[in-house]
């Protein structure tokens, strides 16, 4: 089986400071990988390098494209990369307002990716928007409301619908449950888990919340000071951490 994503030797520096160093892994179709670490550990830098938002100083991010098989997305042309990020890739931001158009209705937000890839039938676009609102548990009657009238949890669900409507194969998520109430988080996690399984999605989730990765991620990568200090099966890394930093991280979580 060809990995969906092969990350090889990614390095990003900010002047003399290390953003992330020497990160390599393969992600297979249907796998969900979590990246944990404290603020400044380089996990967001890594995510942005992989998603094409930042240009890495070294390394390859090879994606198994539908048309041409594995291609290094770092060196591919910008139009190709942007097309990829509108079709086969999705990016869920921590703050929904970074990922939504706040002045555009919920339906327009969901429809944008469809229109971007050439859909020109209003009725079809609207039907799919309504369908997706249902799948992320937002009432269909809200289709013409702007996201500014939505709660934080609803905004985040709308952002997910907007991203998944084109049936991407790889979803990047940056702290998708950050800043939400605990009960809202649980609902979102459950929703994400269902969608990941239903659609056979692969996902890379950056978070500092170990409970989130335990529920969502098959695999886990622990980062510290720009380096990956430990990687493996999620429950193995959390229950039998091998590295000093991971042991500290796991033991720092309050038990409830």
């Amino acid at each position: 089986m060809t990995p969906l994503l092969q990350v090889k030797g990614i390095e990003k520096r900010y002047g003399a400071r290390i953003g992330c160093m020497d990160v390599s892994f393969d992600l297979y179709p249907g796998e969900v990988m979590g990246i944990v670490g404290e603020s400044g550990s380089g996990k967001s830098t890594l995510l942005n390098c992989m998603a094409g938002h930042l240009e890495p100083d070294a390394g390859q991010v090879i994606f198994d494209t539908r048309a041409d098989g594995p291609v290094d997305t770092v060196t591919m042309s910008e139009p190709e990369r942007r097309m990829l990020s509108r079709t086969d890739w999705a990016f869920v931001h921590q703050h929904a307002r970074d990922g939504l158009r706040m002045s555009v209705s919920a339906g327009g937000n969901i429809g944008e990716r469809l229109m971007a890839v050439g859909d020109r039938h209003y009725g079809d676009i609207r039907d799919r928007a309504v369908d997706w609102l249902g799948r992320v548990e937002i009432d269909a009657s809200r289709v013409d409301d702007r996201p500014s009238a939505f709660s934080g949890g609803m905004q985040q669900r709308l952002q997910i619908a907007r991203n998944l409507v084109t049936g991407p194969r790889l979803v990047f998520m940056d702290e998708p449950t950050g800043g939400l109430d605990v009960s809202v988080q649980a609902r979102l996690l459950d929703l994400l888990r269902g969608l990941v399984r239903e659609m056979g999605l692969s996902a890379i989730i950056v978070t500092h919340d170990l409970a989130v990765v335990r529920l969502l991620a098959d695999r886990l990568m622990v980062m510290k000071d720009g380096h990956v200090v430990e990687a493996g099966l999620t429950d193995q890394v959390l229950d039998d951490p091998q590295h000093a930093y991971t042991q500290l991280l796991v033991s720092s979580v309050l038990q409830v």
């Binding site: 459950d190 399984r197 493996g232 099966l233 590295h243």
Partner: protein, 227 residues
């Protein structure tokens, strides 16, 4: 089906002066299809540790942990995930589920994961829940709000939903009444008769005697106790 060859396990506590605690040494065992083996030994001897090593939850320090053709001690995460999905079931003592998911779907999930049709999976889940006396009115609720005994039964239903060729059972009959205990024991017998290789921890002596073919005292693998 489940074979351990000279497996050892130790914990290194990096944040407490890098203390190394050896917990298991020279563990070897072999369980064939249709066989049920009970792990025995005093509390703390390492029964649960051994189970976790087999499941890939704990990383073996050395040796081979073979489940089917796969060496769990050296396998890639995705290989272990595939093994857990298809081949190796684990009924733990505690139910760990995503909040808000209805009980029926919790039980059906392992079947859906191996590609079973939705309706067939839900039908089978319903059958198991009924057998384990979970009232039907609870099926649409999340098991997180259930009593300890109910959660345990949901957990067992989930563990037996898919017919795994290899199973790990951690105290499956604990805190069950006579009737439900009987149901669980017959589930185990059914699994054996279809050829499942089972490793279990049973404090319930009668139960152990009824379903287990052999006992292995893990004290033999405990460093410092072996002598």
């Amino acid at each position: 089906m489940i074979e351990l060859i000279n497996v050892s396990k130790s914990f290194t506590l990096h944040n407490q002066g890098s203390t190394v605690i050896p917990v298991m040494e020279g563990a070897s065992l072999n369980v064939v299809p249709g066989e049920c083996v009970a792990l025995t030994g005093a509390s703390g001897a390492g029964k649960s540790t051994l189970m976790r090593v087999i499941y890939g939850n704990y990383l073996a320090a050395s040796g081979q942990v073979l489940v089917g053709d796969l060496d769990v001690a050296k396998a890639e995460p995705r290989e272990i995930l595939a093994l857990r999905r298809e081949t190796l079931g684990y009924v733990s003592q505690f139910l760990r589920v995503v909040p808000r998911v209805p009980t029926l779907e919790v039980v059906a999930e392992p079947l859906l994961a191996v590609g079973c049709g939705k309706q067939a999976a839900l039908d089978k889940a319903a059958g198991l829940l009924a057998r384990l006396n979970i009232p039907e009115r609870l099926w649409t609720l999340s098991p997180t709000t259930f009593s300890g005994g109910e959660q345990q039964r949901v957990n067992i239903a989930r563990g037996f939903a898919h017919e795994y060729p290899a199973m790990l059972l951690d105290e499956p009959t604990a805190s069950l009444d006579a009737q439900n205990r009987e149901t669980v024991l017959s589930l185990i017998e059914e699994a054996k008769s279809r050829g499942a290789a089972i490793v279990g921890i049973f404090h319930d002596v009668e139960a152990r005697a009824r379903v287990c073919d052999r006992e292995i005292d893990v004290s033999a693998f405990t460093p410092g106790l072996a002598a």
